[in-house]
């Protein structure tokens, strides 16, 4: 009858899915270019901005480096040392700065020193402005790209079928939309930081090379020292940091468990022993932290020491060159002022090291979610459900299992005549919830079939089924938005009047009217500003507004006061009037008022009939009923 894939084949496909991959801890092991390239794909729409950003960093780096050239080559060499016996310094390169200052001076008829100050100010302003532009443009490109990535991951998760969320904890996937994207921001903006350090470094190097290749070469010898030092430091600290992470998580686990089991801890007077055990971990952690502090204390000041070493070299070797009249004194000062810039890229690279590994792991997690393909089977030739619908529902030899070897439903067959009100009862784990979830097409119905008015729901698009079958789940979701939004739910067919009418029908109107802004009162996520009974009524109004042909209700188990209970029962009666209704019933009143009661146990249909019939039969229903009576008050 159904034209979908053969049931057994589909069953096999389901079994093959390994959901445990979402539980595995992914640790970034290596630098993966393929992952990075894929990630950069999201930045593509913003490449214009990224390119502008790159131009800005070039301009700002050049300006940053030219500013000290003005001071040293133009002011010191050209203006302050003129009376000195040093050889003609005009020959030494100054990147055209002297000519520029000279031009400004003659153009504005200002003193050379004042003109030099003006040009200097110009360069500094440019450096400030363009470095700002560089950072902002880059941040904007990265933030926008990641925003798109976040949307794509979220949209993908949003459309995964319910079966996925049965097997994978929400906590396991939600961090991929949140924390993991944050880590990627760290990574990409970290690249920006590196760029901001490397470009000025390279420009400075070029200028230094052109002024004095020997001295520059000498300073470059120090670079490998810095690289090696950084590498050794990262290597030495990597294990320590891993140990610290693990001892910290052990500390937290210990504390968390102690808090959760505090009553037992106190009753069994374990305070001393537990405190001792915690102290042991805490001491181990302290030891590791101190170890890390020691290692860092060796590294940090060492990098600064290299600057001193460079300075001493400049004085010793550069000074000798000044004496030999190979370089000017100004050039010497210029070199000295560049020393600080020398090792910064290496330090920055060391700092980005860990981020890269963490980000690789985040990338992997994000793409793992994005690449997870799972969807409900959609019919090749979808049929519409007949309009109007009579509302007869037939379950035909339904079998279902979430995991192989653990059947939840076993050969369930029964028919609900149109317009009847059915209560499903049974112990926990009897398959009640699964049955109604199948009816609203959370899962593929194979093997077995469900017919609505003789149409197999597997031949209908899942969206179509859900439009015609209204469901109130036990843990229904209140959306943030106004009360009205929560009733209308974006359905253009439902007007404000319709919504209010629906609210009136299910007795929700009085409490909504009492809210500060009535139907336009904004609701907090989950409707925390409403009482449980009010939320229930709102969920009723919402489902009534969509005017479904068939109503499914998973009755809430939470206890409410008697008055609210009466209001809810009354609303339920109106909701189910003249409509095929299937209710997983927890309340005696609901059960008693059903036309037919279906008793499920261990996934099988055990009993079916009216309350009186089943009580007379003295079977499972009678037992369950009496237990319910006993517990209820």
């Amino acid at each position: 009858m159904s034209d979908v894939t053969a049931p057994d084949l589909n069953g096999k496909k389901e079994d093959d899915r390994d959901y445990s991959v979402f539980d595995n801890d992914i640790e970034g092991k290596r630098f993966d270019v393929a992952l990075l390239r894929r990630l950069l794909g999201w930045l593509k729409p913003y490449r214009g901005r990224a390119l502008l950003s790159l131009c800005s960093v070039l301009i700002s780096a050049t300006a940053t480096v030219l500013a000290p050239v003005i001071i040293t080559r133009v002011v010191v060499d050209g203006l302050l040392l003129t009376e000195n016996a040093l050889p003609d310094s005009v020959e030494a390169p100054d990147m055209g700065q002297r000519a520029l200052v000279g031009f400004v001076s003659s153009f504005s008829a200002l003193d050379m020193l004042v003109a030099a100050c003006l040009v200097y100010a110009g360069w500094v302003l440019m450096a400030g402005l363009f470095s700002h532009l560089f950072r902002i443009l880059l941040a904007r490109a990265v933030l926008n790209g990641l925003k798109d990535l976040r949307r794509d991951v979220f949209a993908h998760l949003e459309r995964l079928p319910a079966a996925f969320y049965d097997r994978v904890a929400v906590g396991r996937v939600m961090t991929r939309v949140t924390n993991d994207i944050e880590t990627l921001f760290e990574l990409l903006s970290g690249f920006g930081v590196l760029l901001g350090e490397f470009v000025p470094f390279l420009v400075a190097m070029t200028i230094m090379m052109s002024i004095n290749p020997q001295l520059t070469g000498l300073l470059l010898i120090l670079m490998p020292v810095a690289v090696v030092a950084t590498f050794i430091f990262r290597l030495a600290s990597r294990k320590i940091y891993r140990d610290i992470r693990s001892s910290l998580s052990r500390l937290n686990e210990n504390l968390q468990e102690n808090l959760s089991g505090m009553e037992v801890v106190q009753l069994y007077q374990r305070e001393e022993i537990n405190f001792r055990r915690y102290s042991e971990i805490n001491s181990a952690n302290r030891h590791q932290e101190n170890h890390a502090v020691t290692v860092e204390s060796y590294y940090g000041p060492a990098m600064d020491s290299l600057i001193f070493l460079a300075m001493a070299s400049i004085i010793w070797f550069g000074g000798a060159q000044v004496i030999a009249a190979d370089v000017t004194l100004g050039s010497l000062i210029l070199f000295a002022s560049f020393t600080e810039m020398l090792f910064r890229p290496i330090v920055a690279m060391g700092e980005q090291w860990n981020v890269v590994f963490r980000a690789m792991a985040s990338c992997e997690r994000i793409f793992q979610a994005l690449d997870w393909k799972e969807a409900l089977i959609e019919p090749e030739n979808p049929q519409p459900l007949p309009t109007p619908l009579r509302g007869e529902v037939r379950f035909d030899h339904l079998d279902f299992q979430y995991r192989p070897g653990h059947p939840i439903l076993r050969d369930v067959s029964f028919t609900i005549p149109a317009g009847r009100r059915i209560a499903i009862v049974g112990p926990t784990g009897s398959g009640k919830t699964t049955l109604i979830r199948l009816l609203c097409r959370f899962y593929d119905v194979v093997p077995g079939s469900i017919y609505i008015d003789d149409t197999d729901i597997m031949d209908v698009m899942p969206g179509e089924v859900r439009r015609r079958v209204g469901v109130v789940l036990q843990d229904f979701h209140i959306f943030s938005g106004t009360v009205l939004d929560n009733i209308v739910l974006g359905d253009p067919a439902v007007s404000r009047e319709d919504a209010i009418q629906a609210a009136k029908t299910v007795n929700a109107h009085p409490f909504i009217e009492r809210l500060p802004q009535g139907y336009d009162t904004p609701l907090v996520e989950r409707g925390r500003n409403l009482s449980h009974g009010q939320r229930q009524l709102l969920a009723f109004a919402r489902v009534l507004a969509m005017n479904p042909d068939i109503l499914i209700l998973d009755e809430a188990t939470a206890s409410v006061d008697t008055e609210t209970e009466l209001v809810i029962q009354d609303a339920l009666r109106k909701l189910t009037a003249d409509r095929t209704s299937i209710i997983i019933a927890h309340r005696l009143q609901t059960i008693r008022e059903a036309d037919t009661i279906v008793v499920l146990a261990q996934g099988e249909l055990r009993e079916m009939g009216s309350h009186d019939e089943l009580m007379r039969a003295r079977g499972l229903y009678a037992t369950l009923y009496e237990l319910q009576v006993q517990d209820a008050t």
């Binding site: 001071i71 902002i136 976040r150 949003e158 969320y165 805490n282 932290e289 204390s297 600064d304 037992t623």
Partner: protein, 607 residues
Amino acid sequence: MQPQRPPTHPLWRLLPLIQAHARRFWGGMSLIILGRFLEAGMPLLLGAAIDSLHRGAPNLLFPALAIMVLMVARYVSFNLGRRFVRQVGVEVAFDLRQKLYWHLQLQGPKFFAQFTTGDLMARAINDLQLIRMMVGLGSRLLFVLGASGIIAFGIMLTLSTKLSVMLLPLMPIIGFFGWLIARQIFVQSTLVQEGFSELSAQVQENLNGIRTIQTHSQEAREIERLEAKSGDYADTFLRLMFHNSALTSTMLVMTGAATLIIVGYGGSLVINGEVSIGTFTAFLFFLGMMLSPVKEGGVMVTLFQRAASATERIYEILDHEPEIRDADDAAPLDTVGGEIVIKDLSYQHAGQKKGSQSWPALNNISLTIARGQTVAVLGRIGSGKSTLLRLLVRLLDPAPGTIYLDGRDVRNLPLAQVRQEIAFVPQDPFLFADELGQNITYDNPDRTLEEVWDAAKIADLGETINMFPSKLETEVGERGVTLSGGQKQRTSLARGLIRGTPVLLLDDCFSAVDTETEEKILTRLRALRQGLTTVLVSHRVSTAQHADRIIMLECGEIVESGTHADLMASGGAYAELARMQSRREVLQSDLEAQTATTENQMSEDVP
């Protein structure tokens, strides 16, 4: 309860913690400041070298060597100084963690109703980290940056008072801009943090409600909503980045302005011969050092502000006096026989949920339990059964003069003795992520293997343990996840039984055990508890019927009391319950078969 503290800044409360490591802390600070002094030598030496070159009487050996010496000295003092100060940060975190852990173990139910586990964990993790950062880094910045500014400016003043004074007017301007932007950054970064948690909350709520969303075909709208939220977050983040970047650029330009003063005014002084070219160069180098406090002040202020609120949150916990504690005149009993007398005991739960009908949990209960008696307490959910047991073991504190153990008010006994002599097996069998055997000997890990096996057998756990490949060494997992509900309950029972206390309280701890097993356990229990006091709470008549006395509770009051035979004869609530439950027993096997098979299956309602 707590004397009102004078309103001082919360950070002062960290001072004693730091002072506990005073030598290391202040020693480290002194070393770092010394290092700054040594650093100040470099521009001076550079200036000297340049002057000597300028004068045509070059002396390069001394400055070059002296810089090398400075390098070594500075390295040593910074290495040790930073290490010491940061170690104090580690120590303070260590001490606070120890304090917090111990303090939390003293707290009672009111406290844990007020602070959720998640909240406490957040404080223990994040707030502690912030405090550590402040002590190890923030305090260092405070002293070092201050010292740098003063040292640099002091030297500049001695080199050239004229030029130094010219720089002064710029300082407040730079400070003002720095402060302005830093404050913005603080505000913005708080907004970013809030934005991120809002975003996370929205994603989480959404995915938790995914079924409703899909049944109402709201996916597209929800994606749009996330996009909007994500867009807001990106905007907030961008604003933070903007301010951060603006601060960096402003400081760059401001430093440039200060440099201009040195170049313009200093240059003319050089030309006039008032200042040497070496001093001119040294000034350029000192400038950075002098401006460092205003440049990095923002970071420091943020660290301090964060740490202040973190300290407040940590001390909110540490200042919380334990609600249940020893009376000042508490004295232990020499031996405990196990006679319990309850006189006019009433109890009202604090902070009961609004909207729910509220009646006192217990109302005027009077009861005498003779030494060696077994008493069963029956009643509906919410009738006060658990509350009664909890009061007996002082998990809740009874009013003075209401509960007596061997004639002594339990409020006048040391809490440790009450908990030592009265074993309580709670309804919810909480197991620790440890070995099964370790869970049974939770009160005292030194118990012998025989004791463990005896207790396990009485709790009908022996065969179960033998079924496991690693027997008593079986890891039960977090909260005992690898065990079934019944196994958890029996482990929890064994954990209570092994103690052989004069008084044993069992709070409905057979609910996940089938009646047949329960019967076996109860028979063994009777033999074990011969001559010892036992109180058991249940909702099953089958559990209660063999007790010496049965108490029926209803809405916190004793409505019936007597032996099984008495109560059956009187035909009251107990007899009615017995009638209903015997009916149920007929079908018990059917139900239990289901419980057994579904127990290990995936729970259907919460997959």
